[in-house]
């Protein structure tokens, strides 16, 4: 379907793909290897590409030094709830933006685009004061609410693409059958949209999981910190302990890696159905 490939073309393709794979995977391999070296060996020279002795010392250190389990739990809760709620809310707005024409539509879409241009640091101070007034500083709910707001604009635009690719006829038929628009949305569109929804949720989850500056600003006590905040703490106080740092990095990457391994097909599939056609 894409045309026949010449032998030379095939060779170029394979070489390129292999090189890129090596380039992509190597940093991950290196951080894993670093984390598995005994703390003293990390700074031995020449560098060992395969450690002579494997050691879990860095991981032990990590959980001794800091309550890493708590950070992981916090991140998991915040990213899951915020990601799910943002996806749900964005479906509603995306649906309206895909199916109706109305005067304020382009203004709303512009407003969504502009949110992407706002540097977080202009809003951090006032946001902290706002959250203080709402008694939501140093509180997971507070961070969730803010993350939902952060996720909504891009998520809406993304889901709008999916809705536009689904023929109107589908829900019209359902509405003729006597369903309300809301039920039509859920009964008919939801199943069709599943890959898109999964993709949208993963985007939201990953964004929330990785967010640093808002979390550093809004979370104070150890019990409420998320993983990036904790990582940031490792690097800037005490000494840069590359051993436990690498162990922490591995733990940070793991959940999203599992998610990606499980859903990478959904992401492309989801995006394909939502791709803007030209």
């Amino acid at each position: 379907m894409i045309g026949k490939e010449t032998a030379a073309g095939r060779a170029v393709r394979i070489v390129f793909l292999v090189l890129w794979l090596a380039f992509t995977v190597f940093p991950l391999y290196w951080i894993l290897i670093t984390s598995l070296k005994a703390p003293g060996d990390i700074f031995s020279f020449p560098l060992a590409y395969w450690p002579e002795h494997f050691s879990l010392e860095n991981y032990r250190e990590l959980f001794n030094k800091a309550d890493f389990g708590t950070y992981l739990t916090n991140s998991l809760i915040v990213a899951t709830v915020a990601g799910a709620v943002a996806t749900a809310i964005s479906m509603l707005s995306a649906y309206v933006l895909a199916r109706f024409e109305f005067r304020t539509k382009s203004a709303l879409l512009t407003a969504a685009l502009v949110t992407q241009m706002i540097p977080a640091f202009i809003a951090l101070g006032p946001l902290y004061l706002l959250m203080t007034d709402l008694k939501l500083v140093d509180n997971r709910l507070g961070l969730i609410l803010v993350y939902i707001a952060v996720c909504i604009p891009f998520c809406t635009v993304m889901l709008r693409g999916f809705f536009e690719n689904i023929p109107d006829a589908l829900e019209e038929a359902a509405m003729i059958d006597g369903l309300s628009r809301f039920s039509a949305l859920f009964r008919v569109l939801l199943p069709v949209m599943r890959p898109g929804i999964v993709a949208a949720f993963i985007f939201n989850f990953v964004n929330c999981w990785n967010e640093l500056f808002l979390s550093v600003t809004l979370m104070n006590s150890d019990a409420n910190k998320t993983v990036p905040t904790a990582l940031n703490g490792f690097i800037s106080s005490f000494n840069i302990d590359w051993g436990s740092m690498s162990a922490a990095a591995v733990f940070t990457i793991l959940p999203t890696m599992v998610l990606f391994a499980f859903a990478s097909r959904h992401i492309v599939q989801g995006l394909t159905s939502g791709a803007v056609k030209g």
Binding site: M1, R13, V114, Q116, W209, G274, K277
Partner: protein
């Protein structure tokens, strides 16, 4: 219904119209199935839009606007006894700062130096991944993965690899015989910039690859078959069929990425912190530094400049790409 949503999506200002399927709307005359305005529809739009609008208004726009006013006041956490209005003084202070020129230049290097390799490699990957091969799923999962890592962590990861004493990059280069002695990557402004660009390429290719691959899969096979019948070569097919067909995706992805890369201090923050000698600062990392110094007035002025700059860019970019589209069709 709260005021915020009423003003943006209320029934009075909205005129719901049944939307045409996108391709038809572009070709044929509009409004073939235009429906009359009904309150019910207006309410539905308002109700569906309200949650999103409220969240974004309260937690994004309100703090942004509240922060913007500091740009016009003397607002320094080291001395809050005087927070009077100072007009454009903070903007003057930004422009007259000796770092401003460097920061601006770096931001340009950062955005262009990131977007070009990301787009080119991402496009190539997408083209090559279109073809089925064994383990394609696994391959995809592996190379898409950098996208799931936080920018800050990537900064730290690459900071460790580019460490001049114990970093693996120097070791590999030495083993390959490309350098004689360790290079102090992050201690030299130019080399540090190259290092952060490599890190950002590692991270950002994925997004292009995913988006372009998704778009490519929407190109109908008939188009390729027709091109093949016409005897079009590979290059011609690419430039005359594939690229025009996915142009909108390309334009929007590039636009979004430019905005995101511009507003992406995390990686540089983790990797060099803007150093050495403030020479790897981009606008947004510099803004972090100024905020940390407590000078909220100047930082907010910088923030407004970022928004204004990106808005201008967006308008120009969309205008430029729109014209081309008309010429082609």
């Amino acid at each position: 219904m709260p005021a915020t949503s009423a003003t943006t999506t209320g029934p009075k200002t909205s005129r719901p119209v049944r939307k045409q399927a996108a391709p038809r709307a572009r070709n044929g005359p509009r409004g073939g199935r235009k429906r009359e305005f009904t309150t019910r529809r207006g309410l539905l739009i308002a109700a569906f839009m309200a949650p999103a609008a409220i969240f974004v208004a309260v937690f994004t726009y309100y703090p942004m606007i509240a922060g913007s006013q500091m740009a016009f006041r003397h607002w320094d956490l080291n001395d809050l006894t005087d927070t009077s209005w100072v007009g454009l003084d903070n903007f003057h202070r930004v422009f007259s700062d000796p770092n401003w020129g460097t920061v601006l230049g770096n931001t340009g290097t950062w955005v262009i130096g990131s977007i070009v390799p990301q787009l080119v490699i991402g496009f190539a990957l997408a083209l090559w991944l279109r073809r089925r091969f064994r383990f394609r799923g696994v391959y995809q999962a592996l190379i898409f993965f950098p996208w799931a890592i936080s920018g800050f962590l990537i900064g730290i990861l690459f900071r460790w690899m580019f460490n001049s004493e114990f970093g693996v990059v120097n070791d590999l280069l030495q083993k390959a015989g490309l350098i004689d002695e360790p290079v102090a990557w992050l201690a030299d402004p130019h080399k540090a910039m190259i290092a952060v660009l490599i890190a950002n390429t590692w991270y950002g290719v994925t997004f292009f690859a995913i988006m372009i691959l998704a778009a490519l899969q929407s190109v109908p096979d008939e188009l390729y078959e027709a091109a093949a019948l016409d005897g079009a070569g590979k290059a011609r097919t690419l430039f005359q069929i594939t690229i025009p067909y996915i142009r909108v995706t390309l334009v929007l992805t590039v636009l979004l990425r430019v905005i995101w890369i511009f507003n992406f201090p995390d990686l540089i923050f983790g990797m060099t912190g803007g150093g050495p000698n403030n020479e790897t600062h981009i606008v947004t990392t510099w803004m972090i530094k100024i905020t940390q110094q407590g000078d909220y007035g100047k930082a907010s002025a910088l923030g407004l400049l970022v928004i204004a700059g990106l808005l201008l860019f967006t308008v120009f970019f969309l205008l430029a790409t729109r014209e081309k589209r008309e010429v082609r069709s």
